[in-house]
């Protein structure tokens, strides 16, 4: 029987799934990420550090909640929001070197940043403690700027890789990962995906285990911890010894499993694609096809692979993105002179996310089976009306201060044409400015890649350049780029969105929130032209951008206003509270009257609270504002050249005036 979490009623608001009260044999529903957190709490984890990034942000949020709900745990467990992934990984290594079990979650592209640190840490090894990395991959780029296959890092660093399929495996295997990390003195690469991290299923849990309460101890060992020749070469030798030991022992971990069958064709898969494969086979009435499900996808053990493939006529490798497993399986087959066809990336796509339907179609193609009429019919039906579906790009929320700033940039530069202006985009909510109809961001590279590229551009073009960056991205990697821009005298206008949250990944507090003041910080770095503006003051913002573009060198505009999602949450709650208590209140309301359809607001703002409908009687196009979605930022009201947006006047006699929360100037 499954028992469940109790969020708001029992146990004084403690989520019982993460408390010591729930113990061995208890069954609960968990998301993959939640299950691995429970696993950590049963493994004696003492330190967690991460930079937020989908699909791993909620790991940190849940840890923060747990520590808030159960304050006693703070004596045992520390969670950090780190400034970036390299810092987080090294922080975790530090804790591990004090004998602690450390957890380091990151998204797939976070590994690019962490890799520099991780290579040296792997050479050294995390002992006497343990280090487990949770790397959230994202085939299909469902929550990322691209779908890079970061599995190849495991090969380069020699970090054993575990890939779970279900929440139960997330729970069980993360516990194993800590044991392996400790036993083999290697960081363990625990690779989830957007699907496995955010799929919910039943998990049988074990008993809570806390780390020691007393502090750990660091024992000096130049040989082990210093990655510099000659120690680095010795550690490289030691690294091969460690990973070869893991390779030899793989079978004893219980991670790899065969689903038997008598067919002469077999499948090798892992994680979520294993689930697609099994269901696809069932759909094709191919239940006799044996499957080797790999829980450890690096390193592979020769014997395990050979034993599975040696009696088959054909092997199908089902894996998302680049052919990592296929390549390794091929190498083993070649080594043992097994010459059967190994089919993978030549039939399966090397890009985008898989699905049961897609895997079924590919297996059907390979085996000559009919993929079934239902799959075909449903796809045909869908294709018949697909063209009628309007596209829906993510965009700025109603009342987003970033939309207001982007509109001001368009206005100040006459739609980027006069003066000709290049927009250097970056990673954060502001990437959505590149979607139509705004189309503002001329390139996106990586965290702080915008200002970095702007430095080169500014030296080799005569165009004006505006670089965009968020407060959290600025802290992540942006500050060194500012130093570079000043030192190399780049001519760029930098807009910093200070919205007080890491908004894109679900509103984590940026590192240093409330402690770091941007203006004095930038001034001390040598920026001489720094202005702070509320983007809802449209004319002032436009003038400031015009002014900034006329100056030389690096100029900074700090766009200061809280994220509209957070502000509206507070606003709606207050409004309901006032209403419930019977207090009189007034709030602004914006309405469209007799719109002349000049399209100024739709092109400049494209606010989703704005609606275009057709009057059924007259057939005329009517513009309106959805009252429940509008967050009263007033920007459309300020922008309309024909004054067709009216503001319902606030009547002070009504009593309390309710306003969206403003950021008070510091």
């Amino acid at each position: 029987m499954i028992k469940h979490c109790t969020f708001h009623v029992d146990c004084m608001n403690i989520d019982i799934r993460f408390s010591p009260e729930a113990g061995k044999g208890g069954k609960f529903l968990f998301l993959g990420n939640e299950a691995l957190i429970r696993g950590c709490l049963e493994s004696g984890v003492g330190f967690i550090a991460q930079y937020p990034g989908t699909p791993t942000s909620d790991i940190g949020e849940t840890f923060k909640d747990i520590l808030e709900q159960q304050p006693d745990l703070n004596e045992y467990i520390i969670h950090h929001w780190s400034v970036n992934e390299a810092v987080a990984t090294s922080s975790c290594a530090g804790a591990a070197w004090a004998g602690i079990r450390a957890l380091n979650p990151m998204k797939h592209v976070g590994m690019n940043v962490a890799s520099d640190a991780l290579h040296a840490i792997t050479l050294a090894g995390p002992n006497p403690g343990a280090l487990v990395l949770v790397v959230g991959s994202d085939p299909g780029s469902l929550g990322s700027h691209h779908e890079q296959n970061e599995r190849f890092f495991t090969w380069m660093h020699h970090t054993p890789m575990i890939e779970p399929h279900s929440p139960q495996e997330c729970h069980d295997w993360i516990k194993l990962a800590f044991d392996l990390s400790e036993k083999y003195d290697l960081p363990i690469y625990f690779r989830t995906s957007t699907r496995s991290a955010h799929s919910r299923g039943e998990v049988e849990i074990g008993d809570f285990k806390l780390p020691p309460k007393k502090k750990g101890e660091f024992f000096r060992s130049t040989d082990k911890y210093c990655s510099l020749p000659p120690y680095a070469i010795n550690n490289h030798v030691r690294l091969y010894q460690r990973i070869e030991k893991v390779t030899k022992d793989v079978h004893s971990f219980g991670l790899n499993k065969i689903y038997p069958g008598n067919a002469r064709t077999g499948i090798i898969s892992y994680g979520i694609p294993f689930g697609y494969s099994l269901e696809a086979l069932h759909l094709l009435s191919l239940d006799e096809v044996p499957i080797l499900k790999l829980g450890m996808t690096y390193p592979l053990n020769d014997d395990e692979i050979v034993n599975f493939i040696k009696d088959l006529d054909k092997v199908i490798v089902v894996e998302e993105l680049e052919a990592f497993l296929e390549m390794n399986v091929r190498a083993i087959a070649q080594k043992y002179r097994i010459s059967i066809p190994i089919i993978g990336s030549e039939v399966f796509p090397k890009f985008n996310e898989f699905s049961t339907g897609l895997v079924a179609s590919c297996i059907a193609k390979i085996t000559g089976k009919n993929p079934g009429t239902r799959i075909q019919k449903s796809q045909d039906a869908f294709n018949a009306y697909k063209a009628k579906i309007p596209s829906r790009f993510p965009t700025f929320c109603p009342g987003c201060p970033e939309r207001a700033m982007i509109m001001a940039i368009k206005k100040a530069t006459h739609d980027l044409a006069d003066p000709k202006t290049i927009i250097a985009g970056d990673i954060g909510c502001y990437v959505m400015g590149l979607n139509p109809p705004l189309r503002i961001s001329d390139f996106i590279i990586c965290m702080s890649g915008g200002l970095s590229a702007a430095i080169g551009l500014s030296k080799k073009t005569t165009d004006k350049i505006i670089a965009l960056i968020g407060d959290s991205t600025l802290m992540h990697t942006g500050l060194p780029v500012i130093v570079d821009a000043i030192a190399n005298e780049a001519n760029v206008l930098l807009v910093i969105f200070d919205n007080r949250w890491v908004a894109m990944t679900g509103h984590q507090p940026p590192v240093g929130k409330g402690k770091i003041q941007f203006e004095p910080l930038l001034a001390s770095m040598g920026v001489s032209w720094i202005k702070t503006v509320d983007p809802f003051e449209v004319d002032k913002t436009v003038r400031m951008i015009e002014d900034g573009l006329k100056q030389g060198g690096l100029k900074v505009i700090i766009c200061q206003r809280e994220c509209a999602l957070m502000a509206k949450r507070v606003y709606d709650a207050e409004r309901r509270k006032l209403k419930a208590s019977g207090t009189q209140y007034a709030c602004d309301k914006y309405q469209v009257y007799n719109c002349v359809l000049c399209e100024r607001c739709t092109e400049m703002l494209s606010c989703p609270a704005m609606r275009r409908t057709r009057d059924e009687l007259t057939g005329d196009t009517v513009m309106s504002i959805d009252e429940d979605r509008c967050s009263c930022c007033s920007v459309c009201y300020q922008v309309c050249p024909h004054n067709r947006i009216k503001k319902t006047a606030y009547n002070p006699h009504l009593g309390t005036k309710l306003e969206l929360r403003r950021i008070e100037p510091q």
Binding site: I2, H4, C5, T6, F7, H8, V9, L29, T54, S57, D58, L142, G143, H165, S166, T194, R195, H198, S199, G201, E202, I272, G275, Y276, L278, E279, H282, D287, S355, T356, G357, R374, S378, Q379, A381, F382, Y385, K388, I389, P390, S391, R392, F393, P394, T395, F396, N435, P436, P437, M504, R576, E599, T602, E603, P608, R611, R612, T621, D628, R629
Partner: protein, 220 residues
Amino acid sequence: MTGSTDTRILNVVIVGTAGQGVITLKRLIEFIAAEEDYEGIFGSEMHGLAQREGAISSHCRLQKKKSGNLRDNIFSPIICYGDADLYIGFEPVEVLRNGMFASDKTTFVVNDRTIPPILVTAGKETYPTIDEIRSILIEYSKDPRKVQFLNATELAIKEFDDAQKMNMIMFGFAMATATSILGFRMETCEKVVRRELRDADANIAAIKLGLERAKQLIKK
């Protein structure tokens, strides 16, 4: 416990736009199913970038009793093309966007409040009419009873002064429209809502309102 021998896999697709409560409803359905001792529960949801007015879809897969034949059970958190039993649509055009999971066996319950994508508002693309969407969906089963629209957002604003309650109205509406798919007991729903959601009284009232509306429509 109930001695059920029902090993069918029920596939529910919940779609809408960011912030409408797609994930909340999926979580609720899974917790209710668990409370009613369903043995197979697996489903995927979207977090992160899909926020910010983007399209959101969640798949919820339920099985009362696991089959003795291993390969008859749920292994994938997402549904195969054509295999959805029920769509709960918080936004009409989002049902079409995820249409590849529908077939002749599918029932659709859809909130009629449109959230126009920005290119529609900008006059660059057109949004199909509700009638057009309705006839596309009816085409699957040729059975108009399997396609039900409800003015759930309008009801939520009118009855609860909170457009968000649309999601629970739609849940109630779906339960009464597709009883063989979401056959939960109201007591279980109430118990789980009280445990999992804030503002429980209003949410329960919203579920009941949805149930009633569906019953009225069935009578007609």
